[in-house]
Protein backbone atom coordinates (compact mmCIF):
# COMPACT_ATOMS: atom_id res chain seq x y z
CA UNK A 1 0.00 0.00 0.00
CA UNK A 2 2.83 2.37 0.85
CA UNK A 3 4.33 1.77 -2.53
CA UNK A 4 1.08 2.57 -4.29
CA UNK A 5 0.68 5.86 -2.45
CA UNK A 6 4.23 6.95 -3.11
CA UNK A 7 4.06 5.91 -6.72
CA UNK A 8 6.75 3.23 -6.64
CA UNK A 9 4.22 0.81 -8.06
CA UNK A 10 1.91 2.04 -10.78
CA UNK A 11 -1.72 0.97 -10.51
CA UNK A 12 -4.87 1.86 -12.33
CA UNK A 13 -5.97 4.02 -9.43
CA UNK A 14 -5.14 7.63 -8.98
CA UNK A 15 -4.37 8.25 -5.34
CA UNK A 16 -5.69 11.55 -4.03
CA UNK A 17 -4.60 12.78 -0.68
CA UNK A 18 -4.99 15.83 1.52
CA UNK A 19 -1.43 15.70 2.69
CA UNK A 20 0.83 18.24 1.10
CA UNK A 21 3.83 15.98 1.12
CA UNK A 22 4.55 12.37 1.89
CA UNK A 23 7.71 10.95 3.38
CA UNK A 24 8.26 7.24 2.97
CA UNK A 25 11.07 5.44 4.74
CA UNK A 26 11.82 1.86 3.70
CA UNK A 27 13.50 -0.77 5.83
CA UNK A 28 17.29 -0.45 6.07
CA UNK A 29 17.76 2.41 3.65
CA UNK A 30 21.05 2.67 1.79
CA UNK A 31 23.48 5.44 2.57
CA UNK A 32 26.71 6.36 0.81
CA UNK A 33 29.91 5.32 2.56
CA UNK A 34 31.97 7.93 4.33
CA UNK A 35 29.31 10.62 4.43
CA UNK A 36 29.00 12.75 7.55
CA UNK A 37 25.71 13.16 9.38
CA UNK A 38 25.45 16.81 8.44
CA UNK A 39 26.13 16.14 4.76
CA UNK A 40 23.60 13.33 4.73
CA UNK A 41 20.84 15.60 5.92
CA UNK A 42 21.92 18.43 3.64
CA UNK A 43 21.38 16.19 0.57
CA UNK A 44 17.69 16.90 0.63
CA UNK A 45 18.13 20.58 -0.15
CA UNK A 46 19.89 20.05 -3.48
CA UNK A 47 16.76 19.73 -5.53
CA UNK A 48 17.18 22.92 -7.56
CA UNK A 49 19.53 23.41 -10.46
CA UNK A 50 22.39 25.82 -10.10
CA UNK A 51 22.26 25.72 -6.34
CA UNK A 52 25.85 25.20 -5.37
CA UNK A 53 25.74 26.29 -1.75
CA UNK A 54 23.31 25.94 1.12
CA UNK A 55 21.82 29.14 2.46
CA UNK A 56 22.29 30.15 6.09
CA UNK A 57 18.62 29.47 6.66
CA UNK A 58 18.92 25.88 5.48
CA UNK A 59 21.99 25.26 7.62
CA UNK A 60 20.09 26.49 10.67
CA UNK A 61 17.23 24.18 9.80
CA UNK A 62 19.58 21.21 9.71
CA UNK A 63 21.09 22.14 13.08
CA UNK A 64 17.62 22.43 14.53
CA UNK A 65 16.55 19.03 13.26
CA UNK A 66 19.81 17.50 14.51
CA UNK A 67 19.17 18.82 18.00
CA UNK A 68 15.63 17.46 17.79
CA UNK A 69 16.89 13.95 17.07
CA UNK A 70 19.76 14.21 19.61
CA UNK A 71 22.54 13.96 17.05
CA UNK A 72 23.95 17.47 17.25
CA UNK A 73 27.18 16.32 18.89
CA UNK A 74 27.72 13.69 16.20
CA UNK A 75 27.25 15.92 13.21
CA UNK A 76 30.72 15.27 11.73
CA UNK A 77 30.75 11.54 12.33
CA UNK A 78 30.36 9.14 9.44
CA UNK A 79 26.90 7.66 9.11
CA UNK A 80 28.34 4.15 9.06
CA UNK A 81 29.80 4.69 12.54
CA UNK A 82 26.38 5.39 14.06
CA UNK A 83 24.32 2.72 15.77
CA UNK A 84 21.17 1.34 14.18
CA UNK A 85 18.96 3.47 16.37
CA UNK A 86 20.87 6.60 15.56
CA UNK A 87 20.65 5.93 11.84
CA UNK A 88 16.92 5.47 12.13
CA UNK A 89 16.66 8.75 14.02
CA UNK A 90 18.74 10.40 11.34
CA UNK A 91 16.37 9.17 8.66
CA UNK A 92 13.41 10.47 10.59
CA UNK A 93 15.27 13.77 10.73
CA UNK A 94 15.41 13.60 6.95
CA UNK A 95 11.62 13.37 6.97
CA UNK A 96 11.40 16.40 9.26
CA UNK A 97 13.57 18.38 6.85
CA UNK A 98 11.48 17.37 3.88
CA UNK A 99 8.51 19.23 5.39
CA UNK A 100 6.20 16.26 4.82
CA UNK A 101 3.14 15.91 7.02
CA UNK A 102 2.55 12.21 6.43
CA UNK A 103 5.29 9.78 7.37
CA UNK A 104 5.02 6.26 6.06
CA UNK A 105 7.51 4.13 7.99
CA UNK A 106 8.22 0.51 7.26
CA UNK A 107 9.17 -1.20 10.53
CA UNK A 108 11.21 1.69 11.93
CA UNK A 109 11.89 -0.19 15.16
CA UNK A 110 13.15 -3.44 13.71
CA UNK A 111 16.74 -4.63 14.16
CA UNK A 112 17.53 -2.58 17.24
CA UNK A 113 17.65 -2.86 20.97
CA UNK A 114 14.63 -2.28 23.17
CA UNK A 115 15.65 1.14 24.49
CA UNK A 116 16.15 2.53 21.00
CA UNK A 117 12.82 1.12 19.87
CA UNK A 118 11.12 2.98 22.67
CA UNK A 119 13.01 6.18 21.92
CA UNK A 120 12.04 6.18 18.27
CA UNK A 121 8.41 5.44 18.87
CA UNK A 122 8.32 8.12 21.55
CA UNK A 123 9.74 10.60 19.09
CA UNK A 124 7.13 9.71 16.50
CA UNK A 125 4.43 10.10 19.09
CA UNK A 126 5.70 13.59 19.91
CA UNK A 127 5.66 14.52 16.24
CA UNK A 128 1.93 13.97 16.07
CA UNK A 129 1.50 17.01 18.31
CA UNK A 130 3.11 19.12 15.56
CA UNK A 131 0.64 17.96 12.97
CA UNK A 132 2.73 15.18 11.46
CA UNK A 133 0.86 11.94 11.00
CA UNK A 134 2.93 8.77 11.03
CA UNK A 135 1.74 5.51 9.61
CA UNK A 136 3.92 2.77 11.00
CA UNK A 137 4.07 -0.89 10.04
CA UNK A 138 4.86 -2.95 13.12
CA UNK A 139 4.98 -6.55 14.13
CA UNK A 140 5.43 -6.05 17.87
CA UNK A 141 1.85 -5.87 19.16
CA UNK A 142 2.70 -4.62 22.63
CA UNK A 143 4.82 -1.73 21.38
CA UNK A 144 2.15 -0.86 18.85
CA UNK A 145 -0.64 -0.69 21.35
CA UNK A 146 1.42 1.44 23.68
CA UNK A 147 2.25 4.16 21.16
CA UNK A 148 -0.50 3.91 18.54
CA UNK A 149 -3.60 6.05 18.33
CA UNK A 150 -5.52 4.18 15.70
CA UNK A 151 -4.93 0.69 14.36
CA UNK A 152 -5.41 -1.18 11.15
CA UNK A 153 -5.10 -4.91 10.75
CA UNK A 154 -5.28 -7.10 7.69
CA UNK A 155 -6.92 -10.43 8.34
CA UNK A 156 -5.94 -13.71 6.80
CA UNK A 157 -8.97 -13.29 4.48
CA UNK A 158 -7.54 -9.92 3.30
CA UNK A 159 -10.19 -7.88 5.07
CA UNK A 160 -9.20 -4.65 6.76
CA UNK A 161 -10.03 -4.14 10.39
CA UNK A 162 -9.96 -0.62 11.74
CA UNK A 163 -10.59 0.74 15.22
CA UNK A 164 -9.51 3.81 17.15
CA UNK A 165 -7.78 3.32 20.49
CA UNK A 166 -6.93 0.19 22.31
CA UNK A 167 -10.40 -1.28 21.81
CA UNK A 168 -8.87 -2.72 18.63
CA UNK A 169 -7.07 -5.34 20.65
CA UNK A 170 -9.68 -8.03 21.29
CA UNK A 171 -9.01 -11.74 21.15
CA UNK A 172 -11.28 -12.20 18.16
CA UNK A 173 -9.59 -9.44 16.13
CA UNK A 174 -6.13 -10.80 16.85
CA UNK A 175 -7.28 -14.33 16.04
CA UNK A 176 -8.51 -13.26 12.64
CA UNK A 177 -5.28 -11.37 11.89
CA UNK A 178 -2.63 -13.74 13.13
CA UNK A 179 -4.55 -17.00 13.12
CA UNK A 180 -3.36 -17.63 16.67
CA UNK A 181 -4.96 -17.39 20.12
CA UNK A 182 -4.10 -14.36 22.23
CA UNK A 183 -5.20 -13.23 25.60
CA UNK A 184 -5.50 -9.66 26.80
CA UNK A 185 -4.00 -8.94 30.21
CA UNK A 186 -4.80 -5.81 32.17
CA UNK A 187 -2.86 -4.26 34.99
CA UNK A 188 -2.74 -0.69 36.38
CA UNK A 189 -4.94 0.50 33.53
CA UNK A 190 -2.47 -0.69 30.83
CA UNK A 191 -3.24 -3.69 28.72
CA UNK A 192 -0.82 -6.29 27.35
CA UNK A 193 -1.22 -8.98 24.76
CA UNK A 194 0.13 -12.44 25.28
CA UNK A 195 -0.11 -15.51 23.09
CA UNK A 196 -1.84 -18.61 24.39
CA UNK A 197 -0.79 -21.98 23.13
Amino acid sequence: MFKIITGNIKTGFRVYNDFSKIFYLPQNPYYPKGISVFDYLSSIFFSDNLKWFLSKDEKDKIEKVLSKVDLLDKEDICVENLSGGEIQKLNIGLGLLSGADLFLLDEPASNMDFINQLKILKMLKELTKKGITSVVVMHDINLALKYGDTFFGITTEHKILHQDGIKFFTSSNLKSIFDMNFEILESNGNIYVQSVD
Binding site: T6, N8, Y24, P26, Y31, S36, S47, D73, L94
Partner: protein, 317 residues
Protein backbone atom coordinates in the same frame (compact mmCIF):
# COMPACT_ATOMS: atom_id res chain seq x y z
CA UNK B 1 35.96 22.83 20.05
CA UNK B 2 36.28 19.17 19.32
CA UNK B 3 33.93 19.51 16.39
CA UNK B 4 36.01 22.24 14.86
CA UNK B 5 39.12 20.08 15.11
CA UNK B 6 37.68 17.12 13.25
CA UNK B 7 36.27 19.42 10.63
CA UNK B 8 39.64 21.03 10.10
CA UNK B 9 41.32 17.67 9.85
CA UNK B 10 38.90 16.46 7.19
CA UNK B 11 39.31 19.69 5.25
CA UNK B 12 43.08 19.46 5.49
CA UNK B 13 43.14 15.97 4.10
CA UNK B 14 40.96 16.89 1.15
CA UNK B 15 42.95 20.06 0.62
CA UNK B 16 46.19 18.08 0.62
CA UNK B 17 44.83 15.59 -1.92
CA UNK B 18 43.60 18.39 -4.13
CA UNK B 19 46.96 20.18 -3.99
CA UNK B 20 48.72 16.94 -4.85
CA UNK B 21 46.54 16.47 -7.92
CA UNK B 22 47.02 20.08 -8.99
CA UNK B 23 50.78 19.68 -8.65
CA UNK B 24 50.72 16.49 -10.74
CA UNK B 25 48.53 18.26 -13.29
CA UNK B 26 50.83 21.23 -13.75
CA UNK B 27 54.02 19.17 -13.57
CA UNK B 28 52.87 16.85 -16.34
CA UNK B 29 51.50 19.79 -18.31
CA UNK B 30 54.91 21.44 -18.21
CA UNK B 31 56.65 18.18 -19.04
CA UNK B 32 54.31 17.51 -21.96
CA UNK B 33 54.93 20.97 -23.36
CA UNK B 34 58.59 21.63 -22.73
CA UNK B 35 60.40 18.33 -22.20
CA UNK B 36 63.03 17.62 -24.88
CA UNK B 37 61.98 20.67 -26.86
CA UNK B 38 64.01 21.16 -30.00
CA UNK B 39 65.33 24.71 -29.85
CA UNK B 40 65.51 25.23 -33.61
CA UNK B 41 61.86 24.88 -34.53
CA UNK B 42 60.15 25.00 -31.16
CA UNK B 43 57.37 27.27 -32.41
CA UNK B 44 56.14 24.75 -34.95
CA UNK B 45 56.46 21.85 -32.54
CA UNK B 46 54.58 23.65 -29.80
CA UNK B 47 51.86 24.96 -32.06
CA UNK B 48 51.18 21.91 -34.19
CA UNK B 49 52.15 18.95 -32.07
CA UNK B 50 52.28 19.66 -28.37
CA UNK B 51 49.41 22.09 -27.76
CA UNK B 52 46.84 19.90 -29.55
CA UNK B 53 48.05 16.85 -27.65
CA UNK B 54 47.79 18.62 -24.31
CA UNK B 55 44.33 20.01 -25.08
CA UNK B 56 43.12 16.58 -26.11
CA UNK B 57 44.49 14.95 -22.98
CA UNK B 58 42.81 17.49 -20.69
CA UNK B 59 39.49 17.42 -22.53
CA UNK B 60 39.21 13.66 -22.75
CA UNK B 61 40.40 13.03 -19.20
CA UNK B 62 37.99 15.49 -17.68
CA UNK B 63 34.99 14.43 -19.77
CA UNK B 64 35.54 10.71 -19.19
CA UNK B 65 35.93 11.18 -15.45
CA UNK B 66 32.81 13.34 -15.22
CA UNK B 67 30.77 10.94 -17.34
CA UNK B 68 31.88 8.09 -15.10
CA UNK B 69 30.97 10.08 -12.01
CA UNK B 70 27.42 10.71 -13.26
CA UNK B 71 26.81 7.11 -14.25
CA UNK B 72 28.25 5.71 -11.03
CA UNK B 73 26.15 8.11 -9.00
CA UNK B 74 22.84 7.34 -10.65
CA UNK B 75 23.37 3.59 -10.91
CA UNK B 76 24.90 3.47 -7.40
CA UNK B 77 27.33 0.97 -8.86
CA UNK B 78 31.07 1.52 -8.71
CA UNK B 79 31.64 -0.57 -11.82
CA UNK B 80 29.58 1.61 -14.15
CA UNK B 81 31.75 3.04 -16.90
CA UNK B 82 31.05 5.74 -19.49
CA UNK B 83 30.76 3.27 -22.35
CA UNK B 84 27.83 1.62 -20.61
CA UNK B 85 25.31 3.01 -23.06
CA UNK B 86 26.75 1.24 -26.09
CA UNK B 87 29.04 4.15 -26.86
CA UNK B 88 32.28 2.26 -27.47
CA UNK B 89 30.81 -0.06 -30.06
CA UNK B 90 28.91 2.81 -31.67
CA UNK B 91 32.12 4.78 -32.02
CA UNK B 92 33.87 1.68 -33.34
CA UNK B 93 31.19 1.12 -35.96
CA UNK B 94 31.49 4.76 -37.01
CA UNK B 95 35.25 4.33 -37.47
CA UNK B 96 34.90 1.08 -39.41
CA UNK B 97 32.24 2.58 -41.69
CA UNK B 98 34.46 5.59 -42.34
CA UNK B 99 37.36 3.33 -43.31
CA UNK B 100 35.38 0.90 -45.44
CA UNK B 101 32.67 2.84 -47.19
CA UNK B 102 34.02 6.37 -47.32
CA UNK B 103 37.69 5.42 -47.44
CA UNK B 104 38.25 8.42 -45.26
CA UNK B 105 40.56 8.95 -42.34
CA UNK B 106 38.21 11.23 -40.41
CA UNK B 107 37.88 8.71 -37.62
CA UNK B 108 37.09 11.27 -34.95
CA UNK B 109 34.08 12.73 -36.71
CA UNK B 110 32.64 9.35 -37.68
CA UNK B 111 33.35 7.92 -34.23
CA UNK B 112 31.65 10.89 -32.59
CA UNK B 113 28.58 10.54 -34.79
CA UNK B 114 28.40 6.80 -34.21
CA UNK B 115 28.75 7.21 -30.46
CA UNK B 116 26.04 9.86 -30.18
CA UNK B 117 23.61 7.90 -32.38
CA UNK B 118 24.08 4.68 -30.40
CA UNK B 119 23.67 6.47 -27.09
CA UNK B 120 20.40 7.98 -28.27
CA UNK B 121 19.23 4.61 -29.55
CA UNK B 122 19.96 2.95 -26.20
CA UNK B 123 18.29 5.69 -24.18
CA UNK B 124 15.31 5.68 -26.52
CA UNK B 125 15.00 1.90 -26.23
CA UNK B 126 15.17 1.96 -22.46
CA UNK B 127 12.18 4.23 -22.58
CA UNK B 128 11.58 7.76 -21.47
CA UNK B 129 8.52 7.05 -19.35
CA UNK B 130 9.33 3.79 -17.59
CA UNK B 131 13.02 4.46 -17.38
CA UNK B 132 15.16 2.41 -15.04
CA UNK B 133 18.91 2.07 -14.70
CA UNK B 134 18.88 -1.73 -14.81
CA UNK B 135 16.99 -1.62 -18.08
CA UNK B 136 19.46 0.90 -19.44
CA UNK B 137 22.45 -1.25 -18.50
CA UNK B 138 20.95 -4.37 -20.02
CA UNK B 139 19.96 -2.64 -23.25
CA UNK B 140 23.36 -0.94 -23.42
CA UNK B 141 25.01 -4.34 -23.03
CA UNK B 142 22.91 -5.95 -25.75
CA UNK B 143 23.46 -3.07 -28.16
CA UNK B 144 27.20 -3.25 -27.41
CA UNK B 145 27.25 -6.95 -28.26
CA UNK B 146 25.09 -6.52 -31.35
CA UNK B 147 27.09 -3.64 -32.80
CA UNK B 148 30.33 -5.35 -31.76
CA UNK B 149 29.46 -8.39 -33.82
CA UNK B 150 28.67 -6.17 -36.81
CA UNK B 151 32.15 -4.65 -36.41
CA UNK B 152 33.76 -8.10 -36.27
CA UNK B 153 31.85 -9.07 -39.39
CA UNK B 154 33.17 -6.05 -41.26
CA UNK B 155 36.71 -6.70 -40.07
CA UNK B 156 36.70 -10.37 -41.00
CA UNK B 157 35.18 -9.83 -44.42
CA UNK B 158 37.79 -7.18 -45.30
CA UNK B 159 41.16 -8.76 -44.60
CA UNK B 160 42.91 -6.04 -46.62
CA UNK B 161 42.03 -3.39 -44.06
CA UNK B 162 41.67 -5.66 -41.06
CA UNK B 163 45.01 -4.79 -39.53
CA UNK B 164 44.66 -1.00 -39.63
CA UNK B 165 41.06 -1.34 -38.45
CA UNK B 166 41.95 -3.40 -35.39
CA UNK B 167 44.75 -0.97 -34.61
CA UNK B 168 42.46 2.04 -34.71
CA UNK B 169 39.78 0.28 -32.70
CA UNK B 170 42.12 -1.03 -30.03
CA UNK B 171 43.08 2.28 -28.51
CA UNK B 172 43.17 6.02 -28.63
CA UNK B 173 43.99 7.85 -31.85
CA UNK B 174 47.55 8.98 -32.18
CA UNK B 175 46.74 11.52 -34.87
CA UNK B 176 43.16 12.71 -34.45
CA UNK B 177 41.61 14.93 -37.08
CA UNK B 178 39.14 16.83 -34.95
CA UNK B 179 39.63 20.58 -34.86
CA UNK B 180 40.82 21.88 -31.52
CA UNK B 181 38.56 24.93 -31.57
CA UNK B 182 35.41 22.92 -32.03
CA UNK B 183 36.62 20.48 -29.41
CA UNK B 184 37.19 23.23 -26.87
CA UNK B 185 33.76 24.66 -27.65
CA UNK B 186 32.12 21.27 -27.04
CA UNK B 187 34.16 20.82 -23.88
CA UNK B 188 33.11 24.20 -22.53
CA UNK B 189 29.46 23.43 -23.24
CA UNK B 190 29.80 20.05 -21.54
CA UNK B 191 31.46 21.51 -18.46
CA UNK B 192 28.81 24.23 -18.11
CA UNK B 193 25.97 21.72 -18.39
CA UNK B 194 27.71 19.53 -15.81
CA UNK B 195 28.17 22.45 -13.48
CA UNK B 196 24.48 23.24 -13.64
CA UNK B 197 23.40 19.72 -12.83
CA UNK B 198 26.14 18.52 -10.49
CA UNK B 199 24.52 19.60 -7.17
CA UNK B 200 21.51 17.42 -7.98
CA UNK B 201 23.80 14.42 -7.50
CA UNK B 202 23.80 15.27 -3.81
CA UNK B 203 20.08 14.65 -3.78
CA UNK B 204 20.51 11.38 -5.67
CA UNK B 205 22.93 9.98 -3.12
CA UNK B 206 19.99 9.27 -0.82
CA UNK B 207 18.40 5.84 -1.09
CA UNK B 208 16.03 5.96 -4.00
CA UNK B 209 13.34 4.14 -2.04
CA UNK B 210 13.14 7.07 0.36
CA UNK B 211 10.39 9.21 -1.09
CA UNK B 212 9.61 12.71 -0.09
CA UNK B 213 8.25 14.47 -3.10
CA UNK B 214 7.71 12.30 -6.10
CA UNK B 215 9.44 9.47 -7.89
CA UNK B 216 8.87 11.05 -11.27
CA UNK B 217 11.31 13.87 -10.54
CA UNK B 218 14.06 11.42 -9.76
CA UNK B 219 13.49 9.51 -12.98
CA UNK B 220 13.60 12.76 -14.89
CA UNK B 221 17.00 13.57 -13.42
CA UNK B 222 18.29 10.06 -14.05
CA UNK B 223 17.61 10.39 -17.74
CA UNK B 224 19.13 13.86 -17.86
CA UNK B 225 22.30 12.49 -16.30
CA UNK B 226 22.48 9.57 -18.73
CA UNK B 227 22.15 12.04 -21.60
CA UNK B 228 24.86 14.27 -20.16
CA UNK B 229 27.29 11.42 -19.67
CA UNK B 230 26.64 10.13 -23.19
CA UNK B 231 27.37 13.61 -24.52
CA UNK B 232 30.56 13.87 -22.46
CA UNK B 233 31.79 10.45 -23.57
CA UNK B 234 31.15 11.33 -27.20
CA UNK B 235 33.28 14.42 -26.73
CA UNK B 236 36.09 12.23 -25.49
CA UNK B 237 35.65 9.88 -28.46
CA UNK B 238 35.85 12.92 -30.73
CA UNK B 239 38.96 13.97 -28.92
CA UNK B 240 41.10 10.82 -28.73
CA UNK B 241 38.97 7.81 -29.60
CA UNK B 242 37.96 4.93 -27.39
CA UNK B 243 39.96 4.92 -24.19
CA UNK B 244 38.78 2.62 -21.45
CA UNK B 245 39.63 2.62 -17.78
CA UNK B 246 39.82 6.39 -17.11
CA UNK B 247 36.06 6.56 -16.73
CA UNK B 248 36.05 3.93 -13.99
CA UNK B 249 39.20 4.73 -12.11
CA UNK B 250 39.01 8.52 -11.86
CA UNK B 251 35.54 8.75 -10.27
CA UNK B 252 36.49 6.04 -7.78
CA UNK B 253 39.81 7.71 -7.00
CA UNK B 254 38.21 11.07 -6.41
CA UNK B 255 35.52 9.43 -4.30
CA UNK B 256 38.27 7.98 -2.13
CA UNK B 257 40.05 11.30 -1.88
CA UNK B 258 37.19 13.76 -1.60
CA UNK B 259 34.31 11.87 0.01
CA UNK B 260 30.90 11.96 -1.57
CA UNK B 261 29.99 15.61 -1.90
CA UNK B 262 29.21 16.01 -5.59
CA UNK B 263 30.34 19.62 -5.60
CA UNK B 264 33.84 18.64 -4.50
CA UNK B 265 33.80 15.57 -6.74
CA UNK B 266 33.07 17.74 -9.78
CA UNK B 267 36.38 19.57 -9.45
CA UNK B 268 38.13 16.47 -8.16
CA UNK B 269 37.15 14.51 -11.25
CA UNK B 270 38.13 17.24 -13.69
CA UNK B 271 41.56 17.62 -12.12
CA UNK B 272 42.23 13.91 -11.53
CA UNK B 273 41.06 12.85 -15.00
CA UNK B 274 43.11 15.44 -16.83
CA UNK B 275 46.15 14.93 -14.58
CA UNK B 276 46.07 11.17 -15.17
CA UNK B 277 45.81 11.60 -18.93
CA UNK B 278 48.50 14.29 -19.09
CA UNK B 279 50.90 12.13 -17.12
CA UNK B 280 50.08 9.11 -19.30
CA UNK B 281 50.50 11.14 -22.46
CA UNK B 282 53.90 12.27 -21.33
CA UNK B 283 54.99 8.74 -20.49
CA UNK B 284 53.53 7.29 -23.69
CA UNK B 285 55.47 9.78 -25.79
CA UNK B 286 58.75 9.89 -23.89
CA UNK B 287 58.90 6.55 -22.07
CA UNK B 288 60.98 4.78 -24.72
CA UNK B 289 61.63 7.69 -27.08
CA UNK B 290 61.44 7.71 -30.09
CA UNK B 291 59.02 4.80 -29.91
CA UNK B 292 55.53 5.49 -28.64
CA UNK B 293 53.61 3.34 -26.19
CA UNK B 294 49.86 3.17 -26.83
CA UNK B 295 48.06 5.57 -24.50
CA UNK B 296 45.58 3.01 -23.16
CA UNK B 297 48.41 0.81 -21.92
CA UNK B 298 50.11 3.68 -20.12
CA UNK B 299 46.86 4.85 -18.51
CA UNK B 300 46.42 1.44 -16.95
CA UNK B 301 50.05 1.22 -15.86
CA UNK B 302 49.96 4.68 -14.25
CA UNK B 303 46.42 4.56 -12.91
CA UNK B 304 46.21 1.14 -11.32
CA UNK B 305 49.01 1.48 -8.73
CA UNK B 306 47.67 4.89 -7.73
CA UNK B 307 44.20 3.52 -7.33
CA UNK B 308 45.19 0.37 -5.47
CA UNK B 309 47.36 2.40 -3.10
CA UNK B 310 44.49 4.66 -2.10
CA UNK B 311 42.03 1.79 -1.99
CA UNK B 312 44.19 -0.12 0.47
CA UNK B 313 44.87 3.00 2.49
CA UNK B 314 41.31 4.26 2.72
CA UNK B 315 39.53 0.95 2.36
CA UNK B 316 36.04 2.26 1.76
CA UNK B 317 34.04 3.14 -1.31
Amino acid sequence: MKRLKTYNFVLNKKFFAFTLLVVIFFASLALCLFYRLDASNYEIILKFIRFPVVIRAIVSGATLALAGMFLQAISKNNLADPYLTGLSSGAGLGIVVSMLFFNSSHYSLFGFTGAILTAFLVIFLSGFSKFSITKLILIGLSVNLFVGSIISFFILTNPQKAYPMTLVLSGGFSSPDSSEKFLLLLFLAGIIICGVFTPILNLLRLDERIVFTSVAIRNKYNIIFVLISAFLTSISVYSIGILGFVGIICPLLSKLLFGCDARLLFFGNIISGSALLLLSTFISQNGIFPLQIPLGVVVAIVGVPFFVFFLLKEGRL
